[in-house]
Amino acid sequence: MTNIIKIENVWKTYDLGKIKLNVLKNVSLEIDQGDFAIILGPSGSGKSTLLNLVSCLDVPTKGNIFFKGKNISEFSEDELAEIRGKDIGFVFQRFNLLPHLTALENVVLPTIFQGKEEKESIGLAKNILESVGLKERLNHRPTELSGGENQRVAIARALINNPEIVVADEPTGNIDSRTGDKIMDILVELNKKEGKTVIVVTHNNDQVKYGNRIIRIKDGEIVK
């Protein structure tokens, strides 16, 4: 299998004035197309920083990141935004839905920046929301939905532009474990049935079972 993301000797350093904080130290890894990768580590280990780099939200201080063969470490912000919009779907721990938009509007939102036809997007969004079991919740706002429902809206939003990769940062961190399992099941299904590459960041050891690739990280370094 070909790698979709390749990270080579990457450093991420935050300049805090007097001290320089190395959050990632010489990290290298590859994620292949179709992988279900779990990035596992305690809080403060640098796993979210790693996810930000993998998902093109951020660029490394040193080292190279290849996304589908292109070196994106030197990309401009707008070039990264283009990749994020087309190829990456995001699921966040705190859902990060816009509170004043309905579930349907939240799901349609990413299509605006791809210049897609609104009618088609709405139809597609309804289908996706239906497939995650939210057919009856289209016009509810995030405050009117439960944590699990909100996370399913967020997954629907992540899928609307049909990305190759879905990244999830602690997707079950803000919901109870039973609902969390359902969320993980949805991600597994996406990986198995639709062949999407899924990358999940978690500190929960139990979730290791879902992944075919486990990346353990501690103090900014990958633990073998």
């Binding site: 939200l57 283009e82 994020r84 990060n96 605006i112 920046f113 210049g115 609104e118």
Partner: protein
């Protein structure tokens, strides 16, 4: 795509309706001031220019004083000697001197203060009829020695509505008879006057001689500019002959020159009015900037989300510009509506309360379009810096913001 930005922007504005409306109000006030003041000052200009244009182009106005202002302000009149010398000047067909003064006019039980003009009808009748378009609707022009008065159109219609030709009025204890009333002269100030023979006027007001100004009609075939120069020369001679007279001071202007002067004075006035009203719009614009900066700060996380799902810098800028542009546009539309309503209201109130002064608010398509377009422009300009700040946020930092 722009329609989507528009929808997103409208939804954002509706999240905090009170703040949005207060910001819009700031723009409304500025645009309201521009629209109402510009339409009223344009109306004022039109009404003055209209009055000047009722005089033909071959009329010359002679006033004492160096320039128009001192002659309007100062009490010095043209003397009878001056008037005679003007009339004798080469190229002058006839002159009309129209002294005026306000007097209390009693008719039956009513007493109204009305402007009275003294005219030497015998001399001026052709000039009045042919050059200034004076025609009676009923009755005739006053004959000298008969104690007759001629009513302006509005005097007969509104000021003393029951008065009829042949009726008797009392002015300063003296009786006069209405000989007729005029067709409208085109502006309500002239239409609100009473005209009487010059001799009667002098008797009533006690103004023995002279007039604050005179109008001279040019003999056809003469150049107006030449006749202006001739009048200046003959007036200078007349005044030099008089003992103890200082350097002659008077203005001889063709009606075209007067129109030009008034036009430029009104132009300056309008620029000043526009400048002051613009200050209000700028203050409104600063309000928009302030609101938008607050909004960017509050929505840092939201901006991070938008960026995460693929929004480029230009997308973020557009969303925020649409918001501030919509604020400007709504403010502009409401401001124009309020401005139009106010200037029309002012027009009605003036027409109702004061027949001496007439003003029609001038509402052009351009003014309305300009008001709306300008406020939209101000909205966009005011939103640019906040929009740029939003666009420059790093997605990772913005997402972390709580």
């Amino acid at each position: 795509m722009y329609y989507e930005y528009f929808k997103v922007a409208v939804k954002n504005l509706r999240v905090r309706p009170l703040r949005s409306w207060l910001t819009i109000l700031g723009i409304v006030i500025g645009i309201f001031l521009v629209t109402s003041l510009m339409s009223l000052s344009e109306g004022l200009k039109n009404s003055i220019m209209g009055e000047l244009q009722t005089m033909g182009g071959d009329l010359i106005i002679v006033m004492p004083g160096e320039d128009m202002f001192s002659s309007l302000m100062g009490g010095n009149d043209l003397t009878d000697a001056d008037l005679n010398s003007i009339e004798r000047t080469r190229g002058v067909e006839t002159i009309v001197a129209m002294p005026w003064g306000a007097e209390i006019v009693r008719y039956e039980d009513e007493a109204k203060t009305i402007l009275i003009t003294g005219i030497s009808f015998e001399r001026a009748i052709t000039l009045l009829k042919e050059d200034m378009g004076w025609h009676t609707i009923e009755g005739d022009f006053p004959r000298s020695g008969r104690r007759e008065i001629l009513l302006g159109n509005l005097v007969a219609k509104n000021i003393l509505p029951d008065i009829r030709v042949g009726d008797e009025v009392t002015i300063k204890g003296k009786r006069f008879y209405v000989s007729g009333y005029l067709r409208s002269l085109g502006n309500s100030q002239d239409d609100s006057m009473i005209m009487m023979d010059l001799e009667d006027f002098r008797l009533v007001t006690g103004k023995r001689e002279g007039a604050p100004m005179a109008m001279a009609k040019v003999v056809s075939g003469f150049e107006v500019a030449d006749v202006v120069r001739n009048i200046e020369e003959s007036l200078e001679e007349t005044r030099k002959r008089r003992v103890g007279e200082d350097t002659p001071s008077f203005s001889v202007l063709s009606s075209d020159t007067v129109s030009d002067m008034v036009g430029s004075i009104m132009g300056i006035l309008q620029v000043a009015v526009f400048a002051f009203a613009s200050i209000a719009i700028i203050v409104g614009g600063i309000g928009v900037t302030n609101t938008m900066f607050t909004s960017v700060n509050e929505r840092t996380k939201e901006i991070g989300i938008l960026k995460a799902v693929g929004a480029k810098k230009s997308d973020i800028v557009m969303i925020f510009l649409f918001e501030s542009g919509i604020i400007g546009l709504i403010g502009g539309v409401l401001g124009v509506i309020l401005g139009v309503a106010t200037s029309k209201g002012a027009e009605l109130i003036l027409a109702y309360a004061n027949q001496m002064f007439y003003l029609e608010a001038h509402l052009s398509f351009f003014l309305i379009f300009f008001g709306v377009a300008f406020s939209f422009f101000i909205g966009c300009i005011s939103g640019y810096l906040p929009a740029r700040k939003a666009a420059m946020l790093e997605p990772v930092d913005a997402l972390r913001y709580e």
